[in-house]
């Protein structure tokens, strides 16, 4: 094969390589892939890489996604070249991984049960009792048979001798399976034929089987499963949301759950719902602030007690952190013989636990050839060979001060795998993360996994923090490993239909409600700003102002400015200053800062950010397509901040309004009209009615015939009613028809009456009971009644000061009733806002 992007000399490998044999031949299982790709140019593959990146970005696949503190959303980088594994070889690896999962399961059962290995000194007591992950309270929990560990991830590297070695495991919050799936979907999108042609084993059945495994472990026939996430601040929140929605589990955070009557409950819009299974994505120590770390805000207080009474199944069980200790490695082979009665199939990297004096002296003597690992903190892993002499001495001193906390592990001579670079394929080092879980027939291995490769040839440290690049992992069908049949997802789908799934947590409801409110508020502010900019450029008065009057700004522009200030209740402009300079110049700075400034919390940017945050908190509810709209909306923030002139700003506001309208369309047309949707729409209708009442009050409070046309057209434009109104009323703009159209006309979907009707309907379904309407609905009903009883000509009557007292009174009544309704919704639905506090027993001694 002559492939432009595969040049044996620049590929540069030594020892074992996945693609090439020692003789420089391409390995047979890579041939179908290369055959299909050989006609592509370097530039074309670069395009594929871009397409992958774009696909992932559109789907919002990020690592450290919405870390609200750092705002460092790091996109998930996917290599267009997968890691391909031969099916025959995979079978051996699969068996080794199954055995390892079985071994760790038995280890868990022993450590938190009989402790035979400790009694028989198979494993040193210090190693267990000093490990911070040894969860003593777990010793009082019921033993789980046959499976305690439900899932596990094992990180493997291939030595230059071809052997696969385990270098670490993840047994608490197991991350990566969702990224593996998403990476596969991206590859399938970009290379649909290639995957078929290469006979790649599918991943979907792994997830279905895992779900069946969980179902088999609970007695309940229709269990409610939740996925407990640490929340959007966490680096892998995207994956939490993704897996929850893929598996049909309710995505929750610690605050959403509460322990009562000996059970765990989910706080929902309709009260508490009992939870049967918790798949946790938080580590042991943080799971229960009552029994474990009291400073945990992501756990569930009292969870341990419920687990102890077998009223909830926690996956994985508490205490699995201990089994992640690399100090166990030297003892695993013996433990395997003792617990399973068979030799360990898949070796782990040779490891010396420094708590043993002999091992310590070996580690100190062979420092350069080892990786030093802390027994409970993987962030402290270090290659002494990469350290300076002084740093090495410091590290040695640290180890000698408390040797039991460290291990030395053979730094393996690693093989290489092909990785895409701008110059074509390059050999680099990599780590393969494999996933094992309980399925209907025992432990099953995901036929594939997630491969991380180094950023550059020769680089040894491979971690997401160090910018590792991800690869899809293909296990190829072979004679002994035929392509597994497409597993129907019916089992999962049935589960999707179950009623528990339509339940939304109070937190999600709150986020949706606020998302609705923010979106409308942003729309109103944007429209008001648009009207002001428009009046600056379009009102002829501005052009001739200087000539005819002493004022520079047209009266309409000035009126709108006052209105905007009142609407936002913010001093944005100095009217005197506005009169002394050119109108465009005078308005540029205040309007730009209203759009861009992050400190003006009623401004556009903070509003859009709050919107995105609320949407992200309910990420599992958004489809891929709908998430794109949210992404585009959040891209408006940097776009706005690039504006320098009023013209730029006007354009960006147009674009933003376009995205907001797309969101409106999405909400109206593409969402299931369930409780989630109702909460979102409740927020929207409420905010719209609030904005309208405010603006009507401020703009029509005084009868000023000279401004009437401008004011009325602005009101119509802000409520997005201009076109419709023109179609309805042909005549001149005047107060009475406009006010009727804005407030009472039922044909107009944006009239106040129409919105209050929708609100009542939503609130009845969400909060009401069969016999009684909610407090919130009563408030809306009151507002609606006031409005219905109003008579437009009366509202337009003025007093001696030309003030429309009746109109102001009515608008205030409506506004206050709706504000109260909003508070009632919060009080009734969003009960989780109060945090759990800890009280420790202070010192009282004789």
């Amino acid at each position: 094969m002559n492939i432009p992007w595969l040049n044996a000399s620049s590929y540069a490998y030594q020892g074992w390589d996945e693609l090439f044999t020692a003789e420089g031949d391409i390995r047979p299982h890579w041939r179908p892939f290369l055959m299909m790709q050989q006609h592509l140019s370097l530039a074309q593959i670069e395009q594929h890489k871009e397409a992958l990146a774009q696909h992932l970005q559109e789907n919002g696949v990020t690592y450290n996604a919405y870390a609200e503190e750092s705002k460092g959303a790091r996109p998930w980088q996917l290599d267009p070249c997968p890691l391909i594994l031969d099916g025959e070889e995979w079978l051996t690896l699969e068996a080794g991984l199954q055995q390892r999962a079985t071994l760790f399961n038995a280890l868990y059962q022993d450590m938190y049960g009989e402790q035979r290995l400790l009694q028989e000194a198979c494993i040193p007591a210090e190693l267990v009792y000093r490990h911070p992950g040894f969860c003593r309270p777990a010793l009082s929990l019921p033993q789980l048979y046959p499976y305690a560990l439900f899932h596990a991830a094992f990180n493997l590297v291939r030595g230059s001798d071809r052997q696969w070695w385990v270098i670490s495991e993840r047994l608490q919050a197991i991350q990566g399976a969702g990224y593996a799936l998403e990476s596969r979907l991206a590859m399938a999108r970009v290379y649909p034929q290639l995957l078929r042609h290469c006979q790649v084993q599918r991943l979907a059945s792994y997830f279905t089987a895992m779900h069946q495994g969980i179902m088999a472990a609970v007695e309940h026939s229709d269990p409610h499963v939740v996925l407990l996430s640490p929340g959007p601040q966490n680096e892998t929140y995207f994956e939490d949301a993704y897996l929850a929605s893929y598996q049909g589990y309710t995505l929750v955070q610690g605050d959403d759950l509460i322990v009562r009557d000996g059970y765990v409950w989910l706080k929902t819009l309709h009260g508490l719902k009992k939870i049967d299974v918790i798949v946790r994505r938080i580590s042991d120590a943080y799971a229960d602030p009552l029994h474990l770390r009291p400073d945990s805000y992501i756990g569930v207080a009292g969870l341990l007690e419920v687990v102890r009474q077998r009223k909830v199944l926690l996956i994985n069980p508490l205490g699995s952190a201990l089994l992640e200790s690399p100090a166990l490695y030297p003892f695993l082979a013996q433990a395997c013989e003792r617990l399973l009665g068979e030799p360990l199939q898949l070796p782990n990297a040779a490891t010396w636990w420094c708590g043993d004096p002999q091992a310590l002296s070996y580690v100190l003597a062979h420092f350069q050839q080892l990786v030093i690992k802390h027994i409970s903190d993987p962030r402290q892993n270090v290659f002494p060979a990469l350290l300076s002499k002084a740093e090495q001495a410091q590290l040695k001193a640290r180890i000698q001060a408390d040797p039991a906390l460290y291990v030395g592990q053979q730094a393996l001579d690693r093989g290489t795998l092909p990785c895409w670079s701008e110059q074509g394929l390059q050999a680099r080092e990599g780590v393969l993360r494999t996933f094992v879980s309980v399925g209907p027939q025992g432990y099953q291995v995901m036929p594939g996994g997630l491969t991380f490769s180094a950023r550059a040839p020769g680089q040894r440290i491979i971690s997401t923090q160090a910018g590792a690049i991800n690869k899809d992992t293909w296990v190829q069908a072979s004679p002994s490993l035929p392509l597994r049949p497409y597993h129907s997802r019916r089992a999962l789908m049935q589960h999707f239909q179950n009623d528990a799934l339509r339940v939304i947590s109070s937190r999600t409801a709150e986020n949706l409600f606020w998302l609705g409110r923010y979106s409308q508020r942003a729309e109103w502010v944007a429209r008001l700003m648009r009207q002001i900019i428009k009046s600056v450029f379009e009102d002829e008065a501005n052009l001739f102002a200087e000539v005819e009057t002493s004022q520079l700004l047209a009266p309409s522009t000035l009126t709108f400015l006052h209105l905007l200030q009142k609407f936002l209740d913010l001093p944005l402009f100095d009217p005197n200053h506005c009169q002394q300079t050119d109108p465009v110049e005078a308005l540029t700075q205040p309007l730009l800062s209203l759009a861009i400034d992050t400190h003006i919390y009623k401004g556009l940017t903070p509003m859009l950010e709050a919107m995105h945050r609320s949407a992200f908190h309910s990420r599992d509810l958004w489809s891929t397509e709908s998430w794109r709209v949210m992404n585009e909306l959040s891209e408006s923030v940097p776009a706005l901040s690039r504006s320098q002139t009023l013209i730029d700003l006007a354009q960006e506001i147009e674009t933003l309004l376009g995205h907001l309208m797309a969101l409106n369309g999405l909400i109206a047309d593409s969402m299931n009209q369930d409780d989630s949707w109702r909460m979102l729409d409740t927020g929207r209708q409420l905010e719209r009615a609030l904005c309208l009442s405010h603006l009507v009050q401020y703009s029509l409070e005084f009868n000023r015939p000279e401004h009437e046309v401008a004011t009325l057209s602005m009101l119509l434009a802000c409520n997005d009613n201009m076109m419709n109104f023109r179609r309805y009323y042909r005549g001149e703009l005047s107060s009475e028809p406009v006010l009727t159209y804005l407030l009472l006309n039922r044909v107009n979907p944006r009239s106040m009456a129409a919105q209050l009707e929708k609100l009542q309907k939503h609130l009845r379904l969400v909060l009401g009971t069969e016999h009684q309407i909610s407090h919130a609905e009563k408030r809306v009903l009151a507002a609606f009644t006031h409005l219905q009883l109003a008579d437009i000509p009366t509202l337009l009557c003025t007093d001696v000061h030309q003030r429309r007292t009746a109109l102001v009174t009515l608008m205030r009544q409506v506004f206050q009733a709706l504000e109260t309704a909003s508070n009632e919704v919060s009080a009734q639905c969003f009960i989780h806002t109060r945090k759990v506090r800890n009280s420790q027993w202070p010192l009282e001694t004789p």
Partner: protein, 294 residues
């Protein structure tokens, strides 16, 4: 009352903990170590729990260290929480170890002990660095021939002499190094210092949470509720078991100490801790009353 302890004694202990919340609390859960141990020299005759506001039920189970753990939840709004544990125990004299042995030998014998004893040799949450107290340990155990029990008595005496008993000098979470630096604290701190010193030698030592009968000054009536919960430590003696020492009073318990729980340090046997749904920091009142009834 006599301090002669040749016959069995019966005690009734009433231990009340009251939390006054700044605002009504809607819900709370608590875990406590309030049930006295059954062990050689102490028999639990009766135990009763009273919670205000009343709760429908509570759970008690034996934890991994052999202590009885109490769990209960208050699932309705309450402005305060009062938890009263009433116990009745009988104390009987226990034979002291027949003879002492060099502490080094005791340490060697620990290696063959069951793992659950060996866990008391290592660091624990409140005692992360036992070596902080190594100098103190060396002073108490000057040579390899020093007897295990004799050295421990010496250690208790050193702490009693060198450390100032200062009721409000420390809090529950005052770290050990601060106690060592300032040489002051309360019974809990002194127990931690002793445990750290013993562990720095590789010996097994435990924290004991319990009660102490206090005697009024001669000629005065004993005041109800004037007692308090107390803390001391246990040393593991091979072929014998736990032997207790009270460094705050420089005595080995003799019929006036009542054992509630034994853990690696305070954090494992906190008398009462909890979480609640509400705002603000509660005010706390504790009253302990230890009555000898025969």
């Amino acid at each position: 009352m006599s301090t002669d302890f040749s016959q069995a004694r019966r005690y009734r202990v009433r231990h009340t903990t009251k939390y006054l919340y700044p605002q009504e609390v809607s819900y709370g859960q608590n875990v406590g170590y309030l049930v006295p141990l059954n062990q050689p020299g102490q028999e639990r005759l009766a135990w009763r729990l009273q919670v205000d506001p009343p709760i429908p039920d509570y759970q008690i189970y034996t934890d991994y260290l052999g202590n009885e753990v109490l769990y209960f939840a208050v699932e309705r709004p309450h402005p305060y929480l009062a938890v009263t544990a009433e116990s009745e125990v009988r104390l009987t004299p226990v034979a002291a170890p027949i003879q002492d042995m060099p502490w080094v030998k005791a340490r060697q014998q620990l290696a063959t002990q069951a793992p659950h004893v060996r866990q008391f040799c290592f660091s624990s949450p409140h005692i992360p660095h036992p070596d902080l107290c190594h100098t103190l340990a060396q002073a108490a155990f000057p040579s390899t021939h020093t007897g295990l029990i004799a050295g421990c008595q010496h250690l208790m005496q050193l702490i009693y002499q060198d450390f100032c008993y200062q009721p409000h000098a420390t809090q529950v979470d005052t770290p050990l190094d601060e106690v060592m630096r300032n040489r002051q604290g309360v019974c809990q701190d002194f127990a931690h210092v002793a445990i750290a010193a013993l562990r720095s030698l590789g010996l097994a030592a435990a924290y004991v949470s319990g009660y102490l009968e206090t005697l009024p000054p001669q000629g005065q009536e004993k005041l109800v509720g004037a007692d308090a919960s107390h803390a001391w430590f246990s040393l593991w003696v091979p072929h014998y078991g736990w032997l207790d020492f009270d460094p705050t009073n420089n005595i080995q318990p003799q019929g006036q100490h009542i054992w509630v729980a034994r853990g690696r340090d305070f954090s494992e046997v906190t008398p009462l801790k909890g979480v609640y749904l509400g705002l603000g920091v509660p005010e706390l009142q504790v009253a302990v009353d230890v009555q000898r009834i025969e």
